[in-house]
Amino acid sequence: MTLTTTRLWLTTALVCLVLPVLAQKAAPAPIEFGSVKAVDFTPTTSSDSTQAPAEYLCDYGTSKIEGGHEQFQVIFERTARLRIHRKSGYRYATVRVPLYTRDGKTERLTKLRGFTYNLQNGQLVKTKLNADALFREVVDKNHIQCSFTLPDVREGSIVEFSYVINSDFVFNLQDWQFEHSIPTRWSEYRAFLPQFYIYKTVTRGYLPFAIHETLTVPYSTTYTNPREGLAPLTQSQIHGLAQQLRWAMKDVPAFREEPFMTTPTDYLRSVHFELAGVNFDGEYRDLTGKWEGIWKRLSEDDEFEAATKEPASLATQAQALRQRYPDSTARAAAVLALVQRSVVYNDEARIYTSQPLRRTVERHVGNSADINLLLVQTLRAAGLPATPLLLSTRDHGQIQKDVPEISQFNYVAAHLKLPGRPDVLLDATEPQLPLGLLPERCLNGEGRLANAGGNWVPLKTNVRYTDYRTLRLQLSDQGELTGNAKIEYAGYAAVAARRQIRQTSAAEYLGQAARRWQDWQPAAPHLLADSLQKPVTLELALHHTPAGAEASVLYLPLLNLPDALPYDFRAENRLYPINFGMPR
């Protein structure tokens, strides 16, 4: 084995590295595994967090890129210490670590250590985690879940664990989440990024960082070179500089979900990484590049744009619709309905197809990319210039437009430009969804057109959630009210009503509606014939007898109609912005 020493060429592309401050001194780690003392059990005066089920005393993670065998690896190390305050907090002593595997590359959990500390009669008692007690479950072909639980946990215990994940995936460093459903006194993440791997970082959330800094530190690692023929293995010693990115948060309260949020991950403080480029030899190679670069790759991807270039599976029907509907809007609506009744959505939000489009047509089942790329293909076959629209669903989180990362998207819808008319957004994953409406889950900021132009398109809609009621009532001299109600649901309210009817039955839907009007002795509830252009309309006959008939003044209960005053905001305060998705 020969050992060669290489000094990496220091590139001027690393503009953020200021050379004179070479080798800044890094702060000591905020936690040392195994160092809990009896005094740590004394609650701090400032905190009332003992009401919480448990709290993170310190959660510390580091990611480093290290040389390995013919490749670089990411070494992620996490050390966490929690105090379990109440029995309801016992579940925080069980830890689940998701691992990823693909194409023979894996993430491996190693060096698991753990202790539970209890204070018994003033004495510190340590119980060790038995490392055999690591359970490994293959969730599916790409996901493995490792889980372990700490021993001897009681109210008041301090638990501590540490593990390492060795990952072959240098494209993604481990994310870090600073906030949790329990309070966190200190959470810190450091990433050591050698100058030859350049990452983009994305931070999310609202609460402030206590520390957010970048240092330049020395870097060295050993890399085992690929074997050439029968030659002995050679190793390279690499010396250079690395950026140490450091984020920390202090005294973070427990996160609570509120009504009308997108997804908690949009609100929780977190940091994410994506490999932007490499520079091993002085020449920077862009790996994610610009949005345009992403589109170029997508356009060649068999599971994206290239999929739509196959002969259209619904070509015959598309041709027929082209003949039948000279008006492009009417034709688009007909193509949409065709695809909607050809394929069922399997509730998997994806940007890549799971199968060729002809197979989607054959199976009649598909994910969002299968269905909406089929829609794009069929619209084009019908002579309509459709474009795939990449977006992130509400439960997937908001898009950061300045970060060209494909992983920000999880869903494909379709976009159609019609001459002389406003652009139209379409989605075929739900039956009876009219032209121009995206499902509620898609109403999340902006989407991006997957074409060379690559414009951002607001996913806002002009269509409201409309619930319109008309009551015609006759008042008798005994104070009785008799008449009928006409309840119309339009826009997104109609989408929801049609969905409910489909998923139960018209009879069941009417039964539920009548039940809400129970105080009004509802009779003969019925739905008017449905058409996508009109609101869903339900009518019922009503009769109301006054409660205090003997009183000399009549009190008409018109402000007490069912759902007249929906009350969605019962909490006394609101921490985070409200996001309805659609106008109400």
Binding site: K87, S88, E137, R154, V344, Q503, T504, A514, V553
Partner: protein
Amino acid sequence: MRPSYLTAAAWLLMQGTAASVAVAGAAPRYAVADMPAALRENAHAVVRLDEQTLVVKSVSRTVETNRRAVTILDEAGADWAMQVVYYDQLNTVSYLRGTVYNAAGQALRQLRPSDVRDYGLSDGFSLASDGRGRAADLRQATYPYTVEYEYEVVSNNPLFYSSWRPQPQEQLAVEKSSFRVVTPANLPLRYQERHLPVGSAAIASTEGTQLVYQWQVHDLVAVDEELDAPPVSELTPAVLTAPTEFEVQGHHGKLTSWQTLGEWTYQLNAGRDELPPAIKARIASLVQGETDERARIRKVYEFLQANTRYISIQLGIGGWQTFPASSVAANGYGDCKALTNYCKALLQAANITSYCALVRADEPDIRTEFPSSQFNHVVLCVPLAKAAKPDTVWLECTSQTTAFNYMGSFTGNRHALLLTPSGGKLVRTPSYGAAENRRERRADVYVDAQGNATASIRTVRTGLEQDRYNFLFHSLDPAEQKKRIADVLPLANFSIAKFSLAPGAPAAVPSMVESLALTLPNFAPPSGKRVFVSANLLSRWASLPATVGERQADIWLDNAFAYSDTIRIHVPAGMKPESLPSPVKLTTTFGSYSSQIQTLADGTLQYVRQLRMPVAHFARTDYPAYVEFRRKISAADKAQVVFVKNES
């Protein structure tokens, strides 16, 4: 050869050729037009053909095969187009095949291996579980269509034989369903038939050395789910089966009675209750000097609750065999068997004998007349040796917060199989009636001249009524508890000025005390000279919805409770009640209700409402009377008090 095997052979031949060719040549099957029209009525899906077979290979192995074709009529029935076949360390899936047909009965497509997803049933709750599933999805976008699935599961766990439930759900009709059991003559089948239509009882025959049992039903129309009725699965046909003898991973047992099932389970877990000397010594000193038996048990139980926690682990034979007590002692955690076994060992160290008791938790009670493995949980039963009259303490060992000797809705009021050295013994867990399940509420409402109000309310809940609140108290911090309580308060506009939720003093049944101070803006807005107030602040009970068609099922009222509300309404000087609702008193076999309002000496109005419901079953013909009873309560609950300003 039976016809079904013929088609299976033809099927295998077809596999060799291209799917589309085979499809084109095949005769239509399951055409929707062939289906009797009555089966479509009120149904989201129709089982066209269901052939379930259980072949007992030996005392330690069974093979279950299924072929089921279901016509999906609409989106609400689409779940039947998906199939998940479960397996684990003791069960393997031999195959899963599927075909989808259009309405005309032409095969559209066959399931391919790449369409089947294999996944871990990681429940986000268990620390470890070997449960896995193979899932297929043959849903189509146009209705109706028919899916056919065939699968086979080989089981090395013959403690469970498959049951046959041809119509497990509401709004599902059945054209034809059959069940066939083939078993060696020396391992005869035990079975119980339930609600079988006339003429569909078992046909038993002998084929060589095999016993063959067959059942068949056809043309079962869809049934509806009704309110206050038994679950549909209790009303539709079923055949429960069980072995006479079985062997799981070398553990041989007989299942001819509750006694033998209990014996097998007892033996499987015997000798696993040895404690480390240190723990034994701790228990000895814990109960030293305590002579009262019940107090000794309580001390041991409190020790268990303070020092252990529940961790679910579902692996192979571990579903029936406990981890040793020493493992719980070392780790401080275990699953239900391990914690119950540990508690039994702790009690033993305090010289108290106890028995593990199998129950079916959180589901309808077991079928006591059919001994078989119907359990999913275990609790500890401690008969008091020194009590004057027979008495028993019951302990839930998986909860760190359940009150001593309390079996709530999860485990109470049902049968349990006591595991004793001489075998299994069926006993009952405690049940709680209206006297135990109480909700007592006292409130003072102060209305001001502008119609704004404040209220202070104290609610005491006991027995099963407190279960939910006890759970809230132990699982959430006070801010979250308050939010949950606010979410269910039946008031339109309020804010909570003060809130507390806490367990009441220890008693025979546990209790929870909730105190609320509310501000109620615009509670009773004046209307001219008058003010209207709903006396029943928080306890309105809705009437039942109008029935569509004739009531089919009997009435099952399964929760006994007694509610009492005393509401005092304080109005400003210068207002006096103009009219008071008349008292209402209803005494029926369904339950009793009364409400009345009186004026107290100081002018305060006092509203008293009482509702008491027993556990009872009634014939379906009583339904109109029950609806009337509920309507009257609902009407009385809406009573309003009208105040009028004194003429000045």
